[in-house]
């Protein structure tokens, strides 16, 4: 390589109405390295990468690409220069097939210029195989789970011949198996001399895969160091500006009565007879690999999807839950895993989003009071540190992590007894994660039953009081005692290698 750097970005400033998202920051990338970009939610990581990828052309500053100063004007241009990006928020077309999504805009064509479907499907298959994915290239994207979509995004980005690949939280919805596959690919790309920009809130991953590390805080450049030279604790300190000690706080609460019990839920071939229970004053964790059926199970319980058979008992009473409003009235809450399409109304302001599930705190005898609403919502937002100029900000203008916090606020507002968190910390920084765990703990202390679905092993082990493990629509294991929580055991159940007699778990409740 002639130049040391593929790209150098200097003094980059980006402004949004009311927000200085980036304040004269710098960033660079060398061929054959993984350069990790680290920062809290809203630090500006996605923003600078959107500049580099040509999505956001409204920036100030200098960009030197392969030794030449360039002005970034469009996505196409940047792609032609060799910049490929995996967006943080899914950008797939749900009405097209996996293969079409991967080759959109550059479909292989026959001699006559017709789209060559066969060639396209074949190439897509090869790419998917290369990342060890068994997703069908002919499947409609609308039928995929969030994790599967993320794999498609990765495959899509890899299909471009490129010199630099930006991965904006590629693993936030992936489980260990896919992450391992991704890391193998990253290794291969490194050997080919491709520069990789890696953004993630999963710090262990960073330690594993990163070469260099740049930290942003509040839109400002903090420092660039070699990953090998710092510990995870030091990374965190750079990121949040203070020391953090307790990543997985755990409150000691004696579990109370069983608030939710589920018996033998079946739905097609996604749920094949699942039973579990959740007690007051307890965090019940759910672990599983991609497509294990955890999301589907929670949706069935919340009345978002119908089930074929099965029983649900809330506070010991059998109930029929055919709709979400019924579930809500029974004291259930569900934080969906896909915040963008299922959790938020992106074009609405935060106030409206937070009030959506429960407007009562904002109502007076004469109707709805904006002042009362803001007061109530501000209290909630402050309690979990939502970073926003005001509650009048549109949800879509928030950084991914802050959007997640808004969804949490929405459900905190309802004061439900049984709260299901589906991937609550997806895309959330360590500091905020700890805050969310604290919230879960305080809910637990207040005698609520907390159910947490997580694909992050460390989190699942660190936070849960009991762990259920699912594999392909079946409950393959339950670990009742935190003392028994080990990665091997949990992963063993998750891959279906071990299977345990479940009746034991049920009796414990």
């Amino acid at each position: 390589m002639e130049q040391e750097y593929i790209v150098q970005m200097e003094d980059i400033t980006v402004r949004f109405p009311g927000v200085l998202a980036l304040d004269k920051v710098r960033f660079d990338a060398k061929p054959g390295e993984v350069h990790v970009l680290l920062g809290e939610n809203g630090a500006g990581k996605s923003t600078i990468m959107k500049v580099l990828a040509g999505v956001n052309t409204n920036y100030e500053g200098r960009i030197i690409y392969k030794g030449e100063e360039i002005t970034v004007r469009s996505v196409e241009e940047q792609r032609a220069r060799g910049v490929s990006i995996i967006f943080q928020e899914m950008n797939l077309l749900k009405n097209l097939t996996v293969a079409e999504n991967m080759f959109l805009g550059r479909q292989p064509v026959t001699k006559t210029g017709s789209v060559d479907w066969k060639a396209m499907n074949r190439q897509a298959r090869e790419l998917l195989d290369s990342i060890d994915s068994n997703i069908s290239e002919k499947a409609m994207v609308s039928t995929l789970s969030v994790g599967q979509m993320q794999m498609v995004e990765i495959a899509k980005a890899l299909s471009f011949k490129c010199d630099i690949i930006i991965m904006d939280e590629p693993t936030s919805a992936l489980t260990e198996k896919e992450v391992a596959a991704l890391f193998r690919i990253i290794d291969k790309l490194k050997k080919e001399g491709v520069a990789i920009v890696y953004i993630s809130h999963r710090l262990e991953e960073i330690a594993k895969v990163g070469d260099r590390l740049t930290v942003f805080r509040d839109g400002k450049y903090i420092d660039t160091v070699n990953v090998a030279d710092v510990t995870i604790d030091q990374m965190v300190a750079m990121m949040v500006g203070r020391e953090m000690t307790d990543y997985y706080p755990k409150a000691d609460v004696e579990p109370g009565e069983t608030l939710l019990e589920v018996r033998d839920i079946r739905r097609g071939n996604v749920l094949k007879g699942v039973s579990f229970h959740a007690r007051a004053g307890e965090i019940t964790g759910f672990y599983g690999l991609m497509g294990a059926g955890r999301t589907e199970l929670m949706r069935v319980i919340f009345g978002a999807d119908p089930c074929d058979s099965g029983e649900i008992l809330v506070k010991g009473k059998p109930v029929q839950i055919h709709s979400c409003q019924k579930a809500k009235s029974l004291g259930l809450a569900l934080l969906t895993e896909d915040r963008k399409s299922q959790g938020l109304i992106l074009n609405f302001d935060l106030n409206q989003n937070i009030s959506l599930a429960n407007m009562d705190p904002a109502m007076t005898a004469f109707g709805f009071s904006p002042a009362k609403e803001t007061k109530n919502n501000q209290r909630l937002a402050d309690s979990i540190n939502v970073k926003t100029p005001s509650l009048a900000q549109k949800a879509k203008n928030l950084s991914g992590g802050n959007q997640q916090k808004v969804v949490i606020c929405k459900w905190l507002n309802t004061d439900s007894d049984i709260i299901i968190f589906d991937e609550p910390t997806r895309g959330i920084d360590v500091g905020a994660k700890a805050e969310i765990y604290k919230i879960m703990n305080s809910l637990k202390e207040r005698g609520k039953a907390v159910v947490m679905v997580s694909s992050e092993l460390a989190e699942c082990i660190g936070v849960s009081d009991r762990i259920y493990v699912m594999h392909e629509g079946e409950m393959t294991g339950v670990i009742d005692d935190p003392k028994d929580f080990t990665e091997e055991l949990v992963v063993g159940y998750a891959t279906g290698a071990k299977n345990m007699n479940l009746s034991k778990g049920a009796e414990a409740g």
């Binding site: 919340f302 978002a304 709709s323 979400c324 409003q325 579930a327 809500k328 009235s329 569900l334 969906t336 399409s341 299922q342 959790g343 938020l344 109304i345 992106l346 074009n347 609405f348 302001d349 409206q352 009030s355 959506l356 599930a357 407007m359 109502m363 004469f366 109707g367 709805f368 549109k394 929405k410 309802t414």
Partner: protein, 316 residues
Amino acid sequence: MKLKERKIDFSNMSALIVLIVLCIGLSIAEPAFYSIGNLINILQQVTVYAVLALGVNVVIFTGGIDISVGSIVAFTGIVMGKLIVECGLPDPVGILAALLIGAACGTFSGVMIAKFKLQPMIATLAMMSMARGAAYTLADGQTITGYSDGFRWIGVANIPGTRIPVQIVFMLLLYVLFYYVMKYRKFGRFIYSIGGNEEATRLSGIDVDKYKILAYTISGLCAAIASVILVAKLNSAQSTAGLDYEMDAIASCVIGGTSLLGGYGSVWGTLVGAIIMFVIRNGLNLLNVSSNLQKLVLGVVILLAVLADSLRNRKK
């Protein structure tokens, strides 16, 4: 998308500016435009459409559309006429029947859309065809005339001691009510939320189907109210009444700043939009523009009105 980036502010400045510019221009071009009498004329002509647009607006807020309202005007009018004039039932009974039937038509569309997942355009297209057909069949070419003065009061009377027709006051009261409901009641917030993101609203534990059905019911009800006013005004019910009114109603909403994608739009903007439509027509009449040209000019002015809004938003 640009058009979804605005705030719900329940008023639409651009439309108001367009209206003011239009009025100034017309006052200069034709002095007769600029008189209390003519202002009252316009407001009175707009009443039926404004009431119609009010209901359609609620549907559009949810991200749906209702093109059956014109036909419902005809159908409910005929039913009411039959009951009052031919069956000799008391006026209130006839009116109540009309309102119920209008609401029922809306509910039917709503159920088709919310429960059976039909596309709003096609479900209300079917309703449009059915209601019109029912009106034709019932009326069989006859115009039903001859209502009591009491009945006609809503359509022709003035507020005692003034020149202000009661129908204008009634229409404004309806707008105030809708403004209040859309802004200060949960119902309104839910309606907008459904338009903003139906799935997220449903997963927030809100009975989306119920509110969607209600929106169409309200739209049908408004059509029936418009029908009562129209029949009272013209002293006749006809099966051809309300042809193409739905397009005027939709245009009023959009000119007033409502997004057809749902989730965004204002109640007062719709009134302004409806008034703009009628100021143009009134102006063309006063200026005695040739009938052939009127459509052309109307099209151009509608375009300019929405263009002004779009450019203003773009600049920001």
